[in-house]
């Protein structure tokens, strides 16, 4: 079985972020990068399927600038067989993939000559939180998509998934080829073993530019974006908590209910 995993490198959630001077992007000068946590689930799930089935191949597809190489090495160390890196740097600071639409178009183009039975993506990337790329890719490739998968069983022709839905789960199946997105709980991603880290050094990355996959850079970046960020700001700092004074628990509860009604208007 040929499995494709879509991976995005995102700023490490543990490290602080700063807004760039342009006010429409984050400052990436000193950013620490990591694999999008949901994509770690995808990688793990692909490797688990491969280990269970044997005779399978896991291909990683990622879009991003030079520093994505670091995330690819981690994926190789985890056990990915092949990696395709669409380097979308058009002109130093100008990138091709700037919104869900451009990203999905690039991925779909890259997948043209890659054989696959199953594509696994994270349900969302934790930097932009758009939730859109996997669905757009599925749409462009005309594939069924099952999102928020917490469990799957795959045969050679179809995939059965448990999907988390509001307040419960649904059991959904689709014919292959298909695209699924992973949800927390599907697995525990492995830590790359040190020996595998050393071996990853020797693995080659198939690096391509937009022209190599038949795309015109003119139509990407800010020209191709359907969503443009106008400004960014940090969420407001959380205000001080309020301690309710009162002579008895009953009285305090009464004041609390009142405040929730009047001041917070939540009940």
């Amino acid at each position: 079985m040929n499995i494709v995993v879509l991976m995005k490198q995102v700023p490490d959630t543990e490290a602080p972020v700063e807004i760039a001077e342009s006010n429409v992007a984050i400052d990436t000068e000193d950013t620490k990068w990591a694999i999008n946590p949901y994509d770690e689930f995808s990688l793990e799930e692909a490797l688990l399927i491969k280990e269970a089935k044997g005779d399978s191949k896991v291909t990683l597809v990622t879009v991003g600038p030079d520093h994505v190489a670091e995330a690819i090495r981690v994926a190789y160390a985890m056990g990915v067989d092949e990696a395709i890196h669409i380097n979308d740097e058009i002109d130093d600071e100008v990138y091709g993939a700037v919104d869900p639409h451009t990203t999905a178009a690039i991925i779909a183009a890259a997948l043209k000559d890659v054989p696959f039975d199953l594509i696994i993506a994270g349900q969302r990337a934790v930097d932009d939180d758009s939730y859109l790329v996997p669905a757009l890719v599925a749409n462009k490739l005309n594939l069924p998509i099952i999102s928020l998968v917490t469990k799957q069983e795959t045969t050679d022709t179809e995939i059965n998934c448990v999907q988390s839905i509001d307040g419960g789960t649904a059991v959904v199946k689709a014919a292959l080829p298909a695209l699924i997105t992973t949800q927390k709980g599907i697995n525990e991603p492995r830590y790359p073993n040190f020996r595998a880290i050393m071996k990853a050094k020797k693995k080659k990355v198939d690096e391509r530019e937009l022209e190599d996959i038949g795309l015109d850079p003119e139509n990407f970046g800010i020209n191709g974006a359907k969503v443009k960020i106008r400004s960014m700001e940090f969420p407001p700092e959380r205000g001080q908590g309020k301690i309710i004074e009162g002579s008895s628990p009953a009285e305090k509860a009464k004041i609390l209910v009142n405040l929730l009604k009047e001041e917070a208007s939540v009940i």
């Binding site: 040190f194 880290i197 050393m198």
Partner: protein, 382 residues
């Protein structure tokens, strides 16, 4: 001059940091409090490759350079001293001597199990009457036909009495040298050998989740194939082992200092008194500035010593300096870290008190601070 780590070294740091934060941090306090060695956690550490890091792949080692090993110990120590002790002793004292001095057969027999983290191995040097002064050793091995018969005891031996222990390397007196001094030889003793007993030591102040043992040898008979290297090599083997071991103890000091500093800096920014973060008070800020500066110095010294070792150049002086400096530094930093935490720093919940306790071993194990100063002063010609 190039201060950059290689891509692999950077990846090792990142992965070990992530592992330590996710797998060790949540249980370190509890294991410490219960004085419990965790085989489960040790096996997990083995799975990612924390044992046999500098051992070739031929014996199922990880085939990495020495700096990668030191970085891994540093990152574990940043979260917990006990687990770092299991790793540092496991590699430098357990695996190291077998790898560097063992015969091909001995290596084939023991290293794969030790490098995968399925089993642990102890290195027994210290005796009740012989700590800094190895000359005080009383444990003997006497040739009897094709066997050697060992009698004596060892104390404070790490990783030697847990359910994962496969055996120990033990140094014994095997005769007298031409200059009248005792001749030392090391032997391999498997755990089930009759007459051998390993008893865990309890009630430690520090490294409470690391396994420490007393070893007893009562007419323990081992075949001559169990000799490590040649007869009389024991003293030289011990010196070589301790030179490397010093780097790993030093990196525990470096990592521990970094860990205590991280906790202190975060706390100082969060804690408000007199209407502002206490990190804004110069008395607190200067302590943290000193810590940051000294950690930077310590790391440079430590990595330089490792680099010398990697390049097969003399590194004994630098190893002693790095061990001494990093160990004592962690003492200063942990002390500041507790002080910055105020009363909370004395409570187990806040973790810095564990760093404060764990540090003290570093001034004592694998050559006390006094012994390091003796080594350094000899090297500078005093």
């Amino acid at each position: 001059m190039n201060f950059d780590l290689t891509k692999e070294q950077t990846m090792i740091r990142k992965e070990v940091r992530k592992f330590a934060q996710k797998e060790i941090a949540p249980i370190a306090g509890e294991l410490d409090e219960k004085e419990e060695f965790s085989s489960e956690l040790t096996r997990k550490m083995g799975e990612i490759g924390l044992f046999g890091m500098f051992v070739s792949e031929k014996y199922d080692g990880q085939g990495m350079d020495y700096i990668s090993y030191i970085i891994a110990v540093e990152e574990i120590a940043r979260i917990d001293g006990s687990q770092a002790a299991t790793i540092a002793a496991g590699n430098s004292l357990g695996i190291g001597p077998l790898y560097y001095f063992g015969s091909e057969e001995q290596k084939q027999k023991y290293l794969p199990k030790l490098c995968s983290g399925e089993a642990l191995w102890g290195f027994g040097l210290t005796e009740p009457t012989a700590g800094s002064d190895a000359g005080g050793s009383k444990t003997t091995a006497v040739r009897d036909g094709d066997d050697w018969v060992i009698n004596g005891s060892k104390i404070f031996i790490t990783n030697a009495a847990c359910d994962m222990t496969l055996g120990v390397t033990v140094q014994a007196i095997t005769g007298t040298r031409d200059n009248g001094k005792p001749e030392y030889t090391c032997f391999i003793v498997e755990k089930d050998t009759p007459g051998f007993k390993a008893v865990p030591m309890h009630k430690k102040m520090m490294w409470r989740a690391s396994n420490t043992a007393e070893l007893y040898f009562d007419n323990v008979r081992v075949p001559k194939e169990n000799m490590l290297g040649n007869q009389g090599d024991g003293f030289h083997q011990m010196l070589k082992t301790l030179d490397g071991g010093r780097l790993s103890i030093g990196s525990m000091g470096l990592g521990g200092a970094q860990g205590a500093y991280d906790l202190a800096l975060k706390y100082a920014k969060d804690r408000k008194q007199f209407g502002q973060s206490i990190s804004k008070f110069q008395a607190i800020a200067f302590k943290l500035a000193d810590c940051a500066m000294e950690i930077e110095c310590a790391r440079n010294l430590m990595y330089k010593a490792c680099w010398l070792r990697n390049e097969n150049r003399p590194f004994e002086k630098e190893a002693a300096m790095a061990k001494l400096y990093c160990s004592e530094l962690m003492g200063r930093v942990a002390n500041h870290a507790v002080q910055i935490h105020g009363g909370y720093g004395l409570m187990k919940e806040y973790n810095v008190e564990r760093f404060y306790r764990d540090q003290k071993l570093l001034d004592i194990g694998e050559g006390t601070s006094e012994v390091q100063r003796i080594v350094i002063s000899r090297h500078i010609g005093c």
